[in-house]
């Protein structure tokens, strides 16, 4: 389960930085960028708490 959560978390981070880069490169519109960043935020917030603070991280 944890590997899947991590994959979703990192996808969330990717969606937080990728769309702005695409916007800068002229490959994405502003509204789409904001939408994808919102989705990335939800992906990160809903999965990262389940693995980032766990004792195995010590």
């Amino acid at each position: 389960m944890k590997p899947l959560l991590k994959i979703i978390s990192f996808a969330g981070l990717l969606l937080s930085i990728g769309p702005p880069i695409l916007l800068f490169a002229g490959k994405m519109e502003m509204d789409s960028m904001k939408l994808w960043m919102g989705i990335g935020m939800v992906a990160w917030m809903s999965t990262a708490p389940f693995w980032i603070n766990k004792p195995s991280g010590q």
Partner: protein, 467 residues
């Protein structure tokens, strides 16, 4: 990992409060790297970057000033704070108690707690600017000192109540949440810079330079704002955390370091938060000013929302909240040092009340640069006292840890060093017009000199030996 470590340091279940940290509890530099990265990418960053733009800093001054100022800050942590922290391995409060005595530390705690309340208040106000977006709340402007509308007061008080209730529950959950949010928030700052530059029409290295110089940091202050030079940037970047490095607050954190070299770990945090994040939030504000020509509104929430959408607004709420919450908790701990018999939740509730009231006044946000400088300046002399006691007691011939060695709860040299240094700084400001950002450096030397001179009189070594 850094969260558990941080909780151990500032949490109510703090260990080794009155004993040196033992060998088995020491941490490597990596623990500090993560913690400092999170600490310095916070709600304040959404305000400081835009205020540099408002104060008309030029692009070259900003980049050069931040590079130099942050380097000086890192060196202060690594060469001044960390060696003492790893040699003594005691909390700031206990070390200060041994040098200055309990009665002086009580006053220090009171000042510290008040400053924490105001800092937390400014962060609640920052969060409120984002929370108010769906309600079309009228936002404060750059020159506002008092609340504009009843809606602002209600929003801030409600938000303050929520933050206080969470703080009463303890530090742990919010600390964990902040730890989770840290990597995402750092990326949001990078995204803000990229999107902002795109909106300002940057498409090449040449256009980046011209937009930076002519649009973002064009060297022209907004109406009603003073103009900042490269010296302002250098000294602000160096001293915005003055309470932590030369003020020695971070003795409490760095005492866990295996080696004094861990002080250099702050490098990552400072350059992410106080370089990348300040530049990014400045770019965001420039985009806002371009889209709202002549606007005096200064509200990080709408500024981030306009460029990054809901992710930007949520980032402002979280950054403000996760900064305000531990700050309220720390203020509570400082006050508990004065009123040890009062229940923690009652103290936290009082602190939360003061914080929420303070948050109603936008002046705390608009004057954040001045406030941060004042906060560091007020606490700095006690850091100088610790420094002087550690390095000069033997060389200059006075007893180290004067209060402890004389079994007193009050040390005159420490108190006078604090009070006279602040009087000296006030004099420089009032009579010579030296701005608050530049007072810390001369003040530190004055504090050291006063403490050494008075300690030689009050705690001479020969007297001790004779006794």
């Amino acid at each position: 990992m850094s969260n558990r470590f941080f909780k151990k340091i500032v949490g109510g279940t703090n260990e080794f409060e009155r004993t040196p940290v033992p060998e088995q509890s020491l941490k490597g530099s990596r623990s500090f790297l993560g913690m400092y990265a999170g600490e310095h990418t916070a709600g304040t960053e959404f305000v400081i970057g835009p205020l540099f733009v408002a104060h008309g800093v030029s692009a070259g001054d900003l980049v050069f000033g931040l590079l130099i100022g942050n380097l000086l800050a890192v060196l202060s942590w690594a060469l001044i704070t960390a060696p003492i922290a790893t040699a003594k391995r005691m909390t700031l409060y206990y070390q200060l108690e041994r040098i200055a005595g309990k009665n002086v530390v009580r006053w220090y705690n009171l000042v510290n707690a008040l400053m924490f309340c105001f800092l937390a208040g400014s962060m609640i106000a920052v969060s409120a600017t984002a929370v108010g977006i769906p309600f079309d709340l009228e936002m404060p402007t750059l020159t506002d000192w008092f609340p504009r509308t009843a809606g602002w007061v209600v929003t801030v008080l409600l938000l303050g109540a929520v933050v206080t209730l969470v703080a009463i529950q303890g530090y742990s959950q919010v600390s964990k949440f902040a730890n989770v949010m840290s990597p995402w928030m750092i990326l949001i700052f990078f995204s803000a810079a990229i999107v902002g530059l795109s909106q300002l029409g940057v498409g090449s290295a040449e256009s980046l330079v011209s937009v930076a110089q002519e649009v973002i940091w064009n060297g022209v202050p907004l109406p009603g704002m003073s103009r900042f030079s490269v010296w302002h940037v250098i000294f602000f970047a160096w001293f915005c955390n003055m309470a932590m490095h030369i003020g020695m607050s971070d003795l409490t954190i760095l005492r866990y370091a295996r080696s004094w070299k861990a002080g250099f770990a702050v490098f990552g945090g400072v350059y992410l938060g106080h370089f990348v994040a300040w530049i990014a939030s400045g770019i965001l504000y420039a985009v806002f000013l371009q889209a709202n020509s002549g606007s005096q509104e200064f509200a990080p929430g709408p500024i981030a929302y306009q460029t990054l959408g809901i992710a930007g607004a949520i980032c402002v709420v979280i950054a403000g909240w996760t900064t305000a919450n531990p700050t309220i908790y720390r203020a509570g701990l400082a006050l508990q040092g004065i009123f040890p018999k009062v229940a923690t939740w009652k103290i936290t509730a009082v602190v939360g009340g003061i914080t929420s009231l303070a948050a109603c006044f936008p002046a705390l946000v608009m004057k954040l640069l001045d406030f941060v400088a004042l906060y560091g300046l007020l606490l700095m002399p006690m850091g100088a006292v610790i420094f002087a006691d550690f390095y000069f007691s033997q060389k200059m011939g006075f007893r180290s840890e004067g209060a402890l060695s004389s079994k007193s709860e009050f040390s005159l040299p420490a108190l006078m060093s604090w009070v006279l240094t602040l009087a000296f700084c006030l004099g420089l400001n009032l009579f010579y017009g030296v701005e608050i950002f530049f007072l810390g450096l001369p003040g530190w030397f004055v504090a050291v000199a006063i403490f050494v001179a008075l300690s030689k009189v009050k705690y001479p070594v020969s007297k001790s030996l004779a006794a």
